[in-house]
Each structure stands twice: as structure tokens, then as C-alpha cells.
Symmetry: C2
Subunit: 327 residues, 2 copies
């Protein structure tokens, strides 16, 4: 900026005036400055600007489990869309479901002075965020609630979804229904299990513990779980999958099998309708989730001080055939 000022024969402050197009700069002067800027390839340093102005950095932080997972990338996209609309960029990080990495990312984003933080929590303890929140960085939790603090949270109706899945299967005559999901330490998995049990209770069908398998879904672990619930005494005739990865692994595990159980997945996924049979799912609007969270966060950024809010978005059964297999 100094160089620009020298080249244009003005003071540094006048250059500042020009780049911020403040009024009360003589057009001729402005032209000289613009020419100098052009010639030197000057670009103002936003970091310094933000420091001086004390305003925010125009950045939102987003922490998810894995930016490469389609579920989270759709979330990311929705957040980005809202952020852009408010003139902000998104800084993203993958926690890899490791609480320490979540914490590290969150604190670093705060050190970078993001205007606000969106977190899909990996851990269950979030006291470390309290100082930051008190210091004025609003935080909104997405898809899962914080562990031990009160804060804005946007969720989907997990329990309602699995309960509906069970009802759907029972309506097609199933009475021995399995539930295969992620580890119960994960909030969504635990909630979906709760809904599964409630659904069973409501429908008056038994909920056999041996038909419930919960652990981190890998291709192998899900295949093993499928084998177990389908070959035990009184085997399952239908399966509820706890999330999109479980569903995909299950579809793969069942692909070779002869007689297949009915299946309802949680989370919609591309091509579900083109599989054979098409996979019924508990669908929810991931974009709406991201948008709601981002809007809530931005309201906080703008100064909304009302008590922490909890938003629960609805889910719906997307019946495509795999759930309609008769018992």
C-alpha cells in the first residue's frame, strides 16, 4: 500500500480511501491510485483489515466428521450457500470422529477468529467451548447435541424415523426386525435405537437383543452383523439400517444372498431407487439441516441473544420396495 501511495504520489490513507471507495476522493486522484494499484498488482491484506477494524473475519467454521462423506459434503454445501448469501466464507475441517481433533479444530478456528462455529460433535464434552462462547463466538451444534453444555442445536427426528421404519415393516407383516447401526456412543445411533425400541413396543412386536448390532460400520463388520441376525434362531425377516453407510454395506452384503430380508435404511442416498430392489429409507433433508443451522448461527452472529434453541427437523419414509417385502 505504501508502494501504491508513493507511485500515485498520495498518502497511504488516500489509497485506503480508494480501495474502500469512500466518497470525498477527487476522481483524478482516484484514477491515479487505481492505475498504481493495477500496475503493482496490489491486493489489500484482509487479515490486517480485519485486525484493524475489529469486525469479524467474514468466516464461519464448520467441523464435520469427514468432508469427503456425501452426507457431510451436502451439509457443507448448504452451509456455504447461506454463508455466501451473508458475505462469508466457510473454513472446514474433518474431526474423523476423534474428540481431540474436534477440539483442536474448534479452538484453532476460534483463534482464527471465525465469526461463528458449526460443529457436528465427535466428543461428548464441550466445556472447552464455554470460554470461546463467552468471548463472543457463537456455536451451533448440528446433527448431534453437545455433551455437557447448553447451546443451539439442530437435529433431525432420529427416534421418530426409526419408529416409523419399524411401523412400516410391521405393516408389511414383519415381526422379527433387526437393527444394525453405528456404535451407541454416537448420539444419532443411540437415538435411532431408542426409536427402534419404541416402534417395536408400539407395534407390539418383540425387540430381541440379539437382533440389535451396533458398532462402527465397516464392510466386514456389517456383513458379519447381517449374517448373524439372519442365521440365528428366530432370524430377522427385516432389517433397519442405522445410517447411510450401514445401508450401503448391508446392500452389498445381501447382494449375493438368495432370499433377502426387507430393508429400510436411515438417510437417503443417491441411486437408492435404482438398486434391486430399490431401497426404502427414512429420508430427511440434509440441505435443510445445514441451512437451518447456518441461519441460526448467523442470527447469533448478528446479535440474537435469546436462550439456546433446539430445532428438530422432520423425517419421512421414502418407500421404494425394499421395505415392502412381505415377511
Amino acid at each position: 500500500m505504501n508502494d501504491v501511495a508513493r507511485l500515485a504520489g498520495v498518502s497511504i490513507k488516500t489509497v485506503s480511501r480508494v480501495v474502500n471507495d469512500e466518497p470525498s476522493v477527487h476522481p483524478d486522484t482516484a484514477d491515479r491510485v487505481l492505475a498504481a494499484i493495477e500496475r503493482l498488482g496490489f491486493r489489500r491484506n484482509l487479515g490486517a483489515r480485519n485486525l484493524r477494524r475489529g469486525s469479524g473475519t467474514g468466516t464461519l467454521g464448520l467441523i464435520v466428521e469427514d468432508v469427503g462423506n456425501p452426507f457431510y459434503s451436502e451439509l457443507h454445501r448448504a452451509v456455504e450457500r447461506i454463508a455466501i448469501r451473508h458475505g462469508r466464507r466457510v473454513l472446514t475441517g474433518s474431526s474423523e470422529e476423534i474428540p481431540d481433533r474436534e477440539r483442536e479444530l474448534a479452538l484453532e478456528f476460534c483463534a482464527r477468529r471465525v465469526d461463528g462455529l458449526l460443529v457436528v460433535p465427535a466428543g461428548t464434552r464441550h466445556g472447552y467451548l464455554l470460554p470461546e462462547m463467552r468471548a463472543g463466538t457463537p456455536v451451533v451444534f448440528v446433527d448431534r447435541p453437545p455433551g455437557d453444555i447448553a447451546a443451539d442445536t439442530v437435529l433431525v427426528d432420529n427416534a421418530g424415523g426409526t419408529a416409523a421404519a419399524v411401523a412400516h415393516l410391521v405393516a408389511h407383516g414383519h415381526r422379527r426386525i433387526a437393527f444394525v447401526a453405528d456404535s451407541p456412543e454416537i448420539f444419532t445411533a443411540a437415538e435411532r435405537l431408542r426409536g427402534f425400541r419404541e416402534g417395536c413396543a408400539t407395534a407390539g412386536v418383540p425387540c430381541a437383543e440379539r437382533l440389535v448390532v451396533m458398532r462402527t460400520p465397516t464392510r466386514e463388520s456389517v456383513a458379519e452383523a447381517a449374517h448373524r441376525v439372519l442365521t440365528c434362531p428366530d432370524p430377522a425377516t427385516a432389517v433397519v439400517a442405522g445410517n447411510n453407510r450401514v445401508t450401503v454395506h448391508l446392500v452389498r452384503a445381501l447382494a449375493g444372498a438368495g432370499r433377502r430380508p426387507a430393508l429400510v435404511g436411515f438417510d437417503d442416498f443417491e441411486l437408492a431407487d435404482l438398486l434391486d430392489p430399490p431401497v426404502s429409507v427414512v429420508a430427511h433433508d440434509v440441505s435443510a439441516l445445514g441451512e437451518a443451522a447456518a441461519e441460526l448461527l448467523l442470527a447469533r452472529v448478528r446479535g440474537d441473544q435469546s436462550p439456546p434453541r433446539k430445532v428438530v427437523l422432520p423425517v419421512r419414509i421414502e418407500a421404494r420396495g425394499s421395505g415392502e417385502v412381505a415377511a
Copy 2:
């Protein structure tokens, strides 16, 4: 930091020493300072730090078409992985395939003083980046080359891929092969068309212009294209799809049809193997693409001044059945 210093009864510089754990601070003093930091919830301002140190901001910029597209989110993930390994974060933006948005994002990222920029270009003119590059921000182009400047570029073997797809189909007896792809203004689409033609020439099969349809793939446009190439005189018996979206739309369009053409897609996608028939594709390693680009960029950040490099990653045919349908 002032407050911390006051509370700990030391100078602000000593606080700085503690947070950077420089040696030569008396342990007792350090403890007092740490206590004060804890009590006040102090977090150092990385913006100010970066400004003062003149070092980079520890950030890489990544511009893609759409962070929500699985192809780009996998790329994002790979870039993030490498960035983290070098202690850096990733600032991402979606250009939405609009040259002006690409430019706007790139320049803003430069103004934020990213250490380097990864760009999947939307436009074909990149002169606007020259000043930034001269000013020391390295730029690496990913998946598509820059329009009118010389710069590092990491691509996949687009032409080789479609040529191989044609060879694969010819080997199964096909002689009337269609090519459905994105608009030829998109570099990858144009290259794949070139490879398609070369493949036809090499195999000695005709390349009828009416079997080539190129435009922005939507569900409708692809369905229409499929209908056209399959119902014209001398209709196609096989189709090469130009990218993952075209492939998915094609699968959907063909799902209801009776006798289906053979199909080879470009870009692998989840569940391709579980469709009926499983979809053969020209596969390439998106993670490798992102990693190679990020590594190259980081080498530049570290000061590598060698001439611009062009890296072309290999592709391979993933034969799953849909390409083996006999003519």
C-alpha cells in the same frame, strides 16, 4: 493479552513468550501466566500473529465447482489430508462453474493471504492470477488446465480413458458406439471426446456425429440424448458416458428400457457394482489427484521454483458387466 499480562504481573512480551513456549521463561512465571490465560479464557489472535510474523496464514485455498458433489468432496478430503500433514487448513469455495465466481473466490482467497491456491477452473482465462502468482501465491490447477497462462496442472488421462472405453466395447463386438457427455466447453469433456474419436479411429469403427451428444447433463437432457442415440437409424448398441453425472442419469434413463445398450461410464461412483447390470467405468483415483495436486502446491509453497509441471494420472477400465454386453 494485555489483560493476561496485567493479571499475571508481567509484560505482554512475556505472555507472548509463554504462548509460544519459548525457552528462557522462569517456570514460576510461566505458571502464573498460564493461570491467567486459563482464568481469562485468552486465545491468541492468529490473524495478528500471521500479520506480524509475515509468514503465511497456514491456509490453502481450494476452488471447485461444487463442494457438495461427491467427486469434489473426495478431492477436498484428499487435499485436506495433505494440508493437515503440513499443518495447514483448507478454505474451500464453490465456483458453480461460473468464471466470475471462480475469479472472485480466487482473488478473495489471495486477499486473505492463503499460502497457495488449488483451482478446478471454471473459466478459460486466468490472466487475472498472474499478479498474484508473481506476488508469490503459488497456484496449481486440478482436473482441468488453466486457460491462457502457464502453471502447474494435475490432470487425469481423459483421452486415454475414453479411448480405452471404446476399445473395451469394440472388443465385445460393438461398432456403433455413442458418446454422451457434458458441454465441449468443459476441458475434460472435450478431451474425452477427442479420446473417443481416437479410439474409434484406432479400432476402425465409424464415429457418427449423430451418436455424439454433448451438453450440460440434467436428468432430462441425458434421457433425451439416450432416446436419440438409441432410436435413430443405425442406432447405438453401446454408450460411453462422459462423467459420473451423465452415467447416473443414463442408468436412470435406461432403467425402464427393455433391451439395454452396453455402457461404460467415466469416473467411478459408489454402488456402481451393485446396479443391474453392474456399471463398468473408466476409473481413476480422485484421492490421488487431490494428493498429487496438494503435494505439488506445498512444494511450491516451500520454495520450489522449477518450471511449471504437468502431471497426468493414469486411468483404468473397471469392467463390471455393463460394458460386456454383446452387440
